[in-house]
């Protein structure tokens, strides 16, 4: 998060229409929030013990990310530059509270297994980072697209991570048995070290297969 004063580029608004598609797709691979920008790791690693948990976290994150991006883009002109960070935090924490209470009411089991990580979305650096780096300088439509793209990228990676860990650690994916019943599960994949191990290999694979084509 940069703290230096950067004026909002006016010309950016005229160009948004042609860029909307690009804003959407860049979050998925080229600027994937987890693998490339290395943000939001805490939630990613902690909430990926099973594919279901991971997907739930992805959905909660999607809601907060899109809503806060849109609201930040709406208020960006009336927010004095000096107090923008507290304003962003307030906006984000409002949506996080909504998600937290909604999950407690409708999906109590998921809410219990995600635990402290739902309120912690508030300090999830992806949300804050996009608010500061993108939504505070771009129009509502572009910010919405950026939010959608980042959320897809996040949900994709966290669900993949959850599925891999669940597959090896429990022999199931989304609770459905995939490997034969005689499979001896590697418990370590569900435990904390497994998360670090799998994400390390995912990053190495991403580096090997996607960064050659001049992605960055």
């Amino acid at each position: 998060m940069s703290t230096e004063a950067i004026p909002i580029p006016v010309a950016a608004r005229q160009r948004t229409r042609s860029r909307l598609g690009k804003e959407l797709t860049k979050g998925i691979i080229v600027e994937n929030p987890i693998l490339i920008i290395m943000l939001g790791l805490c939630a990613t690693l902690a909430c990926s013990t099973s594919a279901t948990d991971a997907f739930g976290m992805g959905l909660a994150f999607t809601f907060v990310m899109i809503c806060s991006n849109v609201v930040v883009a709406l208020v960006r002109k009336i927010t004095p530059h000096q107090i923008r960070i507290p304003v962003f935090i307030t906006v984000i924490s409002t949506f996080v509270t909504i998600v937290d209470y909604a999950m407690k009411a409708y999906t109590p089991l998921l809410s219990r297994s995600l635990g402290v990580f739902v309120p912690l979305i508030v300090v999830n650096c992806i949300v804050m980072g996009r608010a500061e780096a993108f939504a505070s300088r771009n129009g509502v439509a572009a910010s919405f697209m950026d939010g959608v793209g980042m959320s897809i990228g996040f949900t994709l990676i966290i669900t993949l991570l959850g599925a891999i860990r669940e597959l090896f650690g429990n022999g199931t994916v989304f609770g459905l048995r995939v490997l034969p019943a005689g499979y001896q599960p590697f418990l370590i994949f569900i435990l904390p070290p497994g998360a670090f191990l799998v994400i390390g290999f995912m990053m190495a694979a991403q580096k090997k297969f996607f960064q050659k084509g001049g992605a960055k």
Partner: protein, 197 residues
């Protein structure tokens, strides 16, 4: 898990080693990977986190038990905690700059970064979730802070070595750091069950 009727030392040990905030609970990983490139910055960040964490937990504990609970405002928990902590870190920075210039020079640039360090907010939430009293909350937070310090300094030491090791190209940089963290986490997992924690 931690509860109100545990002894102080057990709470401290559990927070610091058995449930190490970085390696077992996965909180504050951004700073863990982001600044552990050099030993010096890790030590600076470690001290800053311990310091801010103790202050922030005290304040948010007081806010929760003397403002939010009596006025039935529990739904403001997330918003009020993060704002209190952010404001407080700013105040603290100004205070240290004025009163203790050497200390400020030692950890000055890390103080603003701590606002977005989830460990501080997480500790504040966890002591509320575990329903701890003020003294036990402080001991718990101290344990969490030392656990952070301990893990990040060790990790920085290992990373200084792996930076010089011959590693296959796709694993250089962050991937090998994650594998290292995985092995450290495995070692910490060995403490599970210590003193029945």
């Amino acid at each position: 898990m931690i509860s109100q009727d545990m002894g102080l030392f057990l709470i401290f040990l559990s927070a610091m080693i058995v449930n190490n905030i970085l390696l077992i609970r996965f909180i504050a990983l951004c700073s863990f990977f982001g600044i552990s490139n050099s030993m010096q910055t890790s030590v600076g960040m470690g001290f800053a986190v311990v310091f801010v964490m103790i202050m922030a937990t005290t304040i948010s504990w007081l806010v929760y038990h003397y403002l939010l609970v009596p006025f039935d405002l529990l739904y403001l928990r997330t918003a009020s905690f993060i704002l209190t902590i952010a404001t407080f870190v700013q105040l603290e920075e100004m205070f240290i700059r004025k009163m203790f210039p050497p200390l400020y020079r030692a950890m000055g640039i890390y103080l603003p970064l701590i606002v977005v360090n989830c460990a501080v907010l997480a500790a504040a939430f966890l002591v509320i979730d575990y329903n701890l009293g003020l003294v036990k909350s402080l001991i718990y937070t101290l344990g969490v802070g030392f656990g952070y310090f301990f893990a990040i300094v060790m990790f920085a030491g290992i990373r200084e070595r792996t930076n010089m090791a011959p590693i296959s190209k796709s694993f250089q940089g962050y991937p090998i750091a994650f594998i290292t963290a995985s092995l450290m986490s495995l070692a910490f997992l060995g403490f599970k069950g210590l003193f029945g924690l």
